[in-house]
Amino acid sequence: MTPRGELSLPRQRRDFAPLTLVPLVALVALPLVGSPSTWVTLTLAGLAMGMIIFIIASGLTLVFGLMDVLNFGHGAFITVGAYAAASLVPLLAASLHADSMTLNLLALLALIALAMAVTAVLGYAFERVIIMPVYGQHLKQILVTVGGLIVAEQLIIAVYGPVQIALPLPTAFRGSLIFGDVAVERYRLIAVVVGLVVFAAMLLILNRTRIGLLIRAGVENGEMVEALGYHIRRLFVGVFMAGSALAGLGGVMWGFYRESLTPGMGMDVMVLVFIVVVIGGLGSVGGCFIGALLVAVTANYTGFLAPKLALGSNILLMALILLWRSRGLYPVAKR
């Protein structure tokens, strides 16, 4: 007879190696950049950028993990979210440009709520109309979602016109905070906070709730979850809506970050998002978080050190990571 304690499964071995990557890159960059204050500014800016990319990419990777759907139309939700927020801006102009932090923040939250609601509803429609007929067929999924992207982008052009729209930041979030030599843009701090909140919320929901348990089980083995009597299709729709809403949130954050909107903005970010998702391991939220920070921080350093190589550095980074772990940092077990 074995004692009771030994009957429990061995604890899953934690994989810490990828966690060291971001600090490692930052440390390597320090002597190259030279001035510590510039380095801090660059790092913080990179982290902020990384958080926004993470918000966008997490939705994509979650949808892929659970539903095995690679949604190339994800970029459309980014654009739609940003434009939805922009169309509410005239209504809230008074609060957005008031000289009060609370009013500004409330207005921003209202914009985000609207954008997320719109993209969630759109996500529902997208899942029903575009994706449902092609579950399990990767090639068709890619084609159909690209088609959806073209249509969505053209519709946005039809409604808002092809030109750039300005999206100025609320008054309280403009400018920088100065700590000694280090200047930190206020909006970037907000981006970091929002990104951390999203990450924490996702981890909590995935690891501590019943829904999260079902989602994780669905990622591992969807058929088994269904056999146990759970309606996995309903779960799919829910996760797809959540993923789309996250893209919408990311779209608003990204729009304010650039302070302008273009119909092609979603597709522009998608390039980075795909790199992040590939680096992190398709379907892994944690990997996506590390990947996003890694990509943004590296891009920032190279942008400062050798501006012409900025996007090339991402490709190089991706190649290196894939040489190390050919399925990304945290590959999802079944795939």
Binding site: L139, I142, V144, G147, Q154, M270, L282
Partner: protein, 351 residues
């Protein structure tokens, strides 16, 4: 009949309507300078020629191998820049064209091999994302290296003497100018490339590609190294796309990011192949012809509809001439669902 079969690699269009349409396209293109006088029409014809090669080579990947690449415009661009920059830097001679073409081919195939090794090894789905990332990096690189590539403006260059509009060539009563010679150079090059691609997809090698597309596991079990076959297919498609890029540069006498590298062109190619019909090279011909014609002439038709319905709500907005891509996008989604083999599939079913 036997020779014709050999030229088409034993893969005739099948279907009366389809054969008729393809013959119409072939004859219109072959006699374009006589049938449709005017520069604009000849431009459309030449564009169809090199887009047929581009779409057909993309179909080799998408339709025959079952992998989605978003880097096809990159290879197209490499060809365009290869020929264009060679002509720009080494002067307007045939040697420059050959040199540029050769260098472009080499670069395209090498790059395709490297990308394939990184992404085809793991999962085909990686390939779509990685090609997208690499292609966008390449297009940014091309516009940033403005000393070499001319940046966003691209490069204008001169062609060899015989291909210039001023060149006159007299046979009997006819006078042929250099522009028409250039057109026929492109037409015949495109025709030969298309027939070669047809040869490839109907060779034993092409059959293996299709086997991998239909059932990768089984193909592997039969002893075919799927990665090797996919990589070779990828390299062949990249090489053909680069040659299409050379033809494009020769016709436009210009090369730049907007005409060769932009993501919009990638979407155009996707639309052509899917609407025309995946998994059959004739689909690429139909798709390219329909798309280029739509791009040029559909806008006029839509302008008329938009004008005619000006009093009604929404309709004029939806039929605005700039919305033509919206309609093709809708058609694209519908054809993926309902006509997975595109127009060609429809025409063959109703034989």
């Amino acid at each position: 009949m036997k020779t014709l079969g050999a030229i088409l690699s034993g893969d005739p269009p099948r279907g009366r309507v389809l054969t008729f349409l393809l013959l119409v396209i072939l004859i219109s293109l072959a006699f374009a300078p006589l049938l449709f006088p005017g520069t604009a029409a000849l431009n459309v014809a030449a564009k169809i020629c090199y887009f047929v090669v581009l779409a057909a080579s993309y179909d080799l990947l998408l339709g025959y191998t079952g992998i989605v690449s978003f880097a096809h415009t990159m290879f197209f661009g490499i060809g365009g820049y290869g020929a264009g920059l060679a002509l720009y830097n080494f002067g307007p001679s045939w040697t420059s064209i050959l040199l540029g073409t050769f260098a472009a081919l080499l670069l395209a195939v090498a790059l395709a091999l490297v990308i394939g090794l990184f992404s085809l090894r793991v999962r085909a789905i990686f390939f779509a994302m990685i090609t997208l990332a690499v292609a966008s990096a390449f297009s940014i690189l091309a516009s940033q290296l403005s000393d070499v590539t001319g940046g966003e403006d691209g490069r204008n260059f001169r062609l060899p003497e015989a291909l210039r509009p001023g060149f006159q060539f007299v046979i009997g009563p006819f006078t042929i100018n250099g522009r028409i010679i250039a057109y026929y150079l492109i037409f015949f090059a495109a025709l030969i490339l298309f027939l070669l691609l047809l040869r490839v997809v109907n060779s034993p090698f092409g059959r293996v590609l299709q086997a991998i597309r239909d059932n990768e596991f089984r193909a592997e079990a039969l002893g075919y190294r799927t990665v090797v076959y996919r990589s070779i297919g990828n390299c062949l498609a990249a090489g053909a796309a680069a040659l299409a890029g050379v033809l494009c540069a020769l016709w436009l006498r210009y090369t730049g990011p907007a005409v060769t590298l932009s993501f919009d062109i990638m979407l155009d190619i996707l639309l052509m192949v899917v609407i025309g019909g995946m998994g059959t090279l004739y689909g690429a011909v139909l798709g390219a012809a329909i798309f280029v014609l739509a791009e040029t002439y559909l806008q006029n038709v839509m302008a008329m509809i938009s004008h005619g319905t000006a009093d009604l709500p929404i309709l004029p907005l939806v039929f605005h001439p700039d919305r033509w891509l919206l309609w093709l996008g809708v058609l694209f989604v519908l054809s993926v669902y309902f006509f997975p083999f595109g127009i060609v599939g429809r025409l063959r079913a109703h034989r």
